[in-house]
C-alpha cells in the first residue's frame, strides 16, 4: 500500500508571499499524483495532477507542482498567495500496479495553509 507524507501540518504565510507545500510518497513504482484543496465544510476539489510527461504540472488558481521521481516528491508551489487560498491541501497518490484498485487514492494528512493580510 502507498504511504503519503505531508511534512507540514500548518503553513502560515503573508499575502503575496510565495509558498511551498511538501509531499513525499512511499513507492517508486508507477503512480499518478494529485493535489486537492478542501475549503471549510466542502468536498475536495482537484488542483492539479501528474499522470505522465512533463514533470512540472500547472493547475488551477496559479498553483503548480513538480514531480521528482528520484526523491519520490510532489511539492506544491505558488509564487504569490492570496487570502482566498486559505484552506486545507491534500496530496494524494494512486498507483496502477497489478492487483491495485485503479483510481483508489491514498491521501496525506493534509496541510492547513493560512494566508494573513
Amino acid at each position: 500500500a502507498q504511504s503519503v507524507t505531508q511534512l507540514d501540518s500548518q503553513v502560515p504565510v503573508f499575502e503575496e508571499a510565495p509558498v511551498e507545500l511538501r509531499c513525499n510518497y512511499s513507492s517508486s513504482v508507477s503512480v499518478y499524483l494529485f493535489w486537492y484543496v478542501q475549503y471549510p465544510n466542502q468536498g475536495l476539489q482537484l488542483l492539479l495532477k501528474y499522470l505522465s510527461g512533463s514533470t512540472l504540472v500547472k493547475g488551477i488558481n496559479g498553483f503548480e507542482a513538480e514531480f521528482n521521481k528520484s526523491q519520490t516528491s510532489f511539492h506544491l508551489r505558488k509564487p504569490s498567495v492570496h487570502i482566498s487560498d486559505t484552506a486545507e491541501y491534500f496530496c494524494a497518490v494512486s498507483d496502477f500496479n497489478r492487483g491495485s484498485t485503479l483510481g483508489r487514492l491514498y491521501f496525506g494528512r493534509g496541510t492547513q495553509l493560512t494566508v494573513w493580510p
Binding site: 468536498g43 482537484l46 495532477k49 491534500f90 496502477f96 484498485t101 483508489r104 487514492l105
Partner: protein, 114 residues
C-alpha cells in the same frame, strides 16, 4: 446531475443506532468510491464500485459497515450499531472510468455519534 450529491449533510446518531448515508454520483460515472475522513486526517479509502459491482471493500473497518449500489448509480453506505469512533466525514467520489480519470468529490456527510 451537475456534481456528486450526498445526503444528509449532517447526521447525529445515538450510539447503537443504524445510519444510512446516500451518494448520488455524476450521471454516467462508472466508478464510485467511499472515503472516511476523521477529524484532522486525510480521507481514507473504504470501498469501490464499478457500476453495481463492489470490487474492493478492503477499507471497511468492520462488519458493521456495508455499502451497496444496486443499479449502478446511487450508492448507500450503511453503518450498523454506530460507535463513537465512527464519527467522521464520509466522502463519496465518482469518476467516468478507472485509473487516471479525475475523481469528483461530494461535499460529504458529517456523522457525529453521541
Amino acid at each position: 446531475g451537475a456534481g456528486v450529491s450526498q445526503s444528509p449533510r449532517y447526521k447525529v446518531a445515538k450510539r447503537g443506532q443504524d445510519v444510512a448515508l446516500r451518494c448520488d454520483p455524476i450521471s454516467g460515472h462508472v466508478s464510485l468510491f467511499w472515503y472516511q475522513q476523521a477529524l484532522g486526517q486525510g480521507p481514507e479509502f473504504l470501498t469501490y464500485f464499478q457500476n453495481e459491482a463492489q470490487l474492493d471493500k478492503s477499507g471497511l473497518p468492520s462488519d458493521r459497515f456495508f455499502a451497496e449500489r444496486p443499479e449502478g448509480s446511487v450508492s448507500t453506505l450503511k453503518i450498523q450499531r454506530t460507535q463513537q469512533e465512527d464519527s467522521a466525514v464520509y466522502l463519496c467520489a465518482s469518476s467516468l472510468g478507472q485509473g487516471n480519470t479525475e475523481a469528483f468529490f461530494g461535499q460529504g456527510t458529517r456523522l457525529t455519534v453521541v
